[in-house]
Symmetry: C2
Subunit: 453 residues, 2 copies
C-alpha cells in the first residue's frame, strides 16, 4: 500500500531488464503506482529506463513521464523519436503536464512532436498553454475541467459530467458559466449529489467563488489556495471567460519548490539540487556563491591590509575580527530571512516601510546591548587591553544595529522593485555585513588606540 | 472577490467599534471571509476584537477563531468565560480545530470548557483527539468524514451523505468500511455521481487506497499526499478501523510550517516569527543563536590568541582569517542544506552512507581546487609573502574539504539518531567550521613560516 524502493528490488529489476525478460519485468512493476515507477527510474540507466517505458501501456507510461523530474525526463526524451513521444506520452497526458513536457523540448522538436498528435483539440489546448509564462496561472492550469451552464438542471449537469468524464481523473468541483462562457461560480459536489435531478443550478450554485486571471503569479495562487482552503481554482481570461483550472496538487508542488528555492538561496546554493544528483550538477550549484564568497574574502583582506600597522602594534586586534564579522553576518541573515518569509507568506502587514525599519531598530538595539554587555564583561575580566575591551563592545553594538537595518532594508527594497527578495539573503548579505563590520571595528580600534595610548 | 485589508478599512472598523456602532461594524465585515476577518483582528486591540467577535453568529465566529494565529487566539480566549468558548466556538468548530483550540488552553481550563459543550458526541470526539501527539496523523485528523458500508448501494450511500451532511463542509471522497468498521477503500465522487442508484459500492469502490495509522508522523503524511496527489487521507487505528480523515488544507499548513521552520533554523531564528510580531517576540527569537555566535567568536579569539606571536611576526596572517573562516562556513551550510532538504523531501535515495560521503568528497575536492587556484593566483600577484601565498591556498583546500564532509555527516547522523537534522544547519555548522578553519590555517601558516623563513 505504501511502497519503498529497496536496493534488492532495483537489482531484481535490473536483472530482468538485462535478460530482456519482459514478463518478469512487467510483473515486478505491475503493482507500482506511476510515481513509484518514476522513483525506480532514478536508479536505472537510460537504456534500462527506456526498456521499461516501452513495456508500459500509454496511459501508464504518460503518468510515469509526468512524475519524472525535469532532468531525467529531458535525458529520456532525447533518445525517443518524435512520433513515439506524441503517441505514447502526449496523447495520454493531461494538457498541463503535456505542455510542461513539450515546453522543455527545443523549439524545432516541439513542432515535430505536436505534428504527430492525432487529437487536434488536445494539440490545440497544449499550444494554448505553451503561450503562458511558467510562473503564472496560465502556466499552471489545465484545460481539463467540467463546466456547466447556469440555466441547466442537475440531470443535464450529470449527463455533461458523464460526457466529459473520460478526460477527468478526479472531480472536486463543477464550474458554472453563463451562456457566453463567462465564469459565474462553482457548484460543490455535495450539493450536486444531494439535490433532486430537476433542481436548477441557478438555485444552488455558489456565486462568490474565487477565480484568478491567467497572468496571476504563482505565489499569489499558492497564498490564495492556502488562505481560503481551496482544492481547485478556476482560471479566467481578461473578459471573464473560463479557460482552465488549477488543482491543489500542482499548487503543493509550487509551494514545495518555492520553499526549497528560498532555502537554497539562504544556504548559498544556486540551482535546485538533491543529494542524489551527480558530482557535476552539485558542483555547478555550489561554486558560484563560493566564488562570490572568496571575492568577499579578498576584499576583506584588503580592508584589513589598510590597518596592517595597527595589527603589528596591537596583535590582539585580530582576535576579535571573526567575532565581529560573524555576528554582523548572523544578524543580517536573521533580519533578511524574517522579511523574505513575511513576503513569501504575504504577511507584511499594513505597517508602512519606516514603521517596520523603526521596529527593526528596536529589536537590533536590544540584541546589540545584550551582546555588547556580554563581550564587555568577558574582555573586562580576561583581556589585557583596555583599547580592545572598549573597541570590541562599541563596534559590536554599531555592527549589530547596522547589519539588522541593512538586512531588513535590502529585501524590502528589492520586493518594491519587483526583484525576488530571496536573492538578497544568504551569502550576499553576509559578505557585505562582514566587510562593513570589520571596517567599523578596525576604525574604532585605531580611534581608541590614539585616545587611550 | 479577493479582498485586501487597507489602512483606511482598519480605521473605519476601529471607528465603528469605538462608537459601539454595531450595525456599521457588522456592515463593514459582512462580506468578509472568516480568514479575512482573522487578518483584520491582527490589526485590532483585544477589546476591539472582542467587540467584533461577539457580533458574529456562532458558525462564523468559530471559523474566524480557527483562522487566527495561535498567539492571537490565546490572548483572546484568556478574556472570555469558559461557557462562551464552549457554546460560541467549540460547538461550531470541526473536531480537529476544536481540539487544537482546547489543547492550547491550560489543563484546568480545558475541563471547564469541555464541561460546557452540550453535544456530547462532539465533546467525546474532541477528547479522543486530544490524546494524540500534535505532529502525527492523530493530531492532524478530524472526526468529520463520510463512511459507507461495502454492501450498500449508491442510493443508501447518498442517503447517508444526506444524514451526515450537516457536519461536513466539503466532500471529496467517501470512505468505504466493512461491517466491523475496518477501512477497505474509497469511493470517488465521480463514480458516485455517474453510477445508477442500485449499483453496489462493492462493485465500484477502489480497494487500493492509501491510508495511514494514527501515529504516522506528519512529515510522512505530507510526503504521501504530495507524492500520490491526494486530497484527503483516511486514518486508521492499529486494527484497521477507520477513525478519522486528514484533508489537504491541513497538510498544506503543515508543509508551510515545516518549510518555514527549516528556513528559520538555517537563518538562525529559533521560534516562528513574522515581521508583524512585537519587538519582544522578535528579540526572543533572535537572541539565542546570536549568543551562541558570540560564544563561538570568543572561542575564535582564544584560538587566534594562541598564535599571537605569529601575528606580531607576520601581520598579513590576519588578512586572510575572514576569508578562511567565511568560506568554511559557507561550504558547511551548503552541504548541510542539501542533506536537510533531501531528508525533508524524502529523496535521500538508496545509496549507502559512505557512497554519499564519497560523492560529497568529490564535489568538495573540485570546489576546493577551483577556490584554492584562484586565491593562489591572487596572492601570487599581489602578496609580498610567500608563506601567506602558500599557506592560504593549502589551508583553503583542506578547510573546504573538511567543511563539506562535516556539513554532510552531521545532519545524516542526526537523522539516523531520529533528531531533527535541521538543528545542525545554520549557526551551529558555521561556528564549528569557522573555528576549525581558522585553527587549520594558523597551524599551516606557522608550519610554512618555519620551513620557508
Amino acid at each position: 500500500m505504501n511502497f519503498e524502493i529497496t536496493k534488492q528490488f532495483v537489482e531484481n529489476v535490473k536483472e530482468a531488464v538485462e535478460k530482456s525478460d519482459e514478463t518478469l519485468a512487467l510483473d515486478l512493476i505491475h503493482d507500482l503506482h506511476p510515481v513509484e515507477i518514476a522513483e525506480l527510474y532514478d536508479e536505472l540507466n537510460i537504456d534500462e529506463a527506456k526498456f521499461l517505458f516501452l513495456l508500459l501501456d500509454g496511459e501508464r507510461a504518460a503518468d510515469v513521464l509526468a512524475e519524472l523530474d525535469e532532468n531525467d525526463r529531458e535525458r529520456f526524451l532525447k533518445v525517443l523519436p518524435a512520433d513515439v513521444i506524441a503517441k505514447v506520452f502526449i496523447e495520454n497526458m493531461d494538457t498541463d503536464d503535456a505542455a510542461d513536457v513539450i515546453g522543455d523540448l527545443p523549439e524545432e522538436r516541439q513542432e515535430e512532436v505536436l505534428s504527430h498528435v492525432e487529437n487536434l483539440d488536445h494539440a490545440g489546448d497544449i499550444v494554448d498553454l505553451l503561450d503562458y509564462e511558467e510562473n503564472t496561472a496560465g502556466g499552471l492550469m489545465q484545460k481539463e475541467y467540467i463546466a456547466v451552464k447556469l440555466d441547466w438542471d442537475i440531470k443535464t449537469c450529470i449527463d455533461e459530467i458523464r460526457n466529459q468524464s473520460e478526460d477527468i481523473d478526479e472531480l472536486y468541483y463543477v464550474y458554472v458559466v453563463n451562456s457566453e462562457n463567462i465564469f459565474v461560480g462553482v457548484l460543490s459536489l455535495k450539493k450536486l449529489i444531494l439535490s433532486k435531478p430537476e433542481k436548477k443550478i441557478l438555485d444552488i450554485y455558489n456565486s462568490e467563488a474565487i477565480s484568478v486571471r491567467t497572468n496571476t503569479p504563482s505565489e499569489e495562487i499558492v497564498n490564495l489556495m492556502d488562505k481560503y482552503d481551496l482544492v481547485s481554482l478556476p482560471v479566467i481570461d481578461p473578459i471573464g471567460r473560463l479557460v482552465g483550472q488549477i488543482t491543489i496538487d500542482d499548487v503543493v508542488d509550487v509551494l514545495r519548490q518555492q520553499a526549497e528555492k528560498d532555502y537554497q538561496m539562504a544556504s548559498g546554493i544556486s540551482t535546485d539540487v538533491e543529494i542524489t544528483d551527480n558530482v557535476w550538477r552539485l558542483t555547478k550549484a555550489r561554486l558560484p556563491w563560493l566564488l562570490f564568497g572568496v571575492v568577499g574574502g579578498i576584499l576583506a583582506s584588503q580592508v584589513i591590509g589598510v590597518f596592517e600597522d595597527d595589527l603589528t602594534r596591537l596583535a590582539a586586534t585580530a582576535f576579535f575580527l571573526p567575532l565581529i564579522a560573524a555576528t554582523g553576518g548572523n544578524v543580517g541573515i536573521q533580519s533578511s530571512a524574517i522579511v523574505v518569509q513575511s513576503i513569501a507568506s504575504d504577511s507584511l502587514g499594513i505597517q508602512g516601510f519606516w514603521r517596520k525599519i523603526f521596529k527593526e531598530f528596536g529589536v537590533a538595539a536590544i540584541n546589540a546591548l545584550v551582546l555588547s554587555a556580554i563581550i564587555l564583561s568577558y574582555n573586562f575580566i580576561f583581556s589585557d587591553s583596555l583599547v580592545i575591551t572598549i573597541s570590541v563592545s562599541i563596534s559590536l553594538f554599531v555592527v549589530v544595529v547596522f547589519a539588522s537595518i541593512f538586512g531588513s532594508i535590502i529585501p524590502l527594497v528589492l520586493h518594491r522593485m519587483k526583484i525576488d527578495p530571496a536573492l538578497a539573503t544568504g551569502p550576499f548579505i553576509t559578505i557585505i555585513n562582514d566587510l562593513v563590520g570589520m571596517g567599523i571595528y578596525l576604525v574604532f580600534t585605531r580611534f581608541f588606540y590614539h585616545i587611550l595610548m
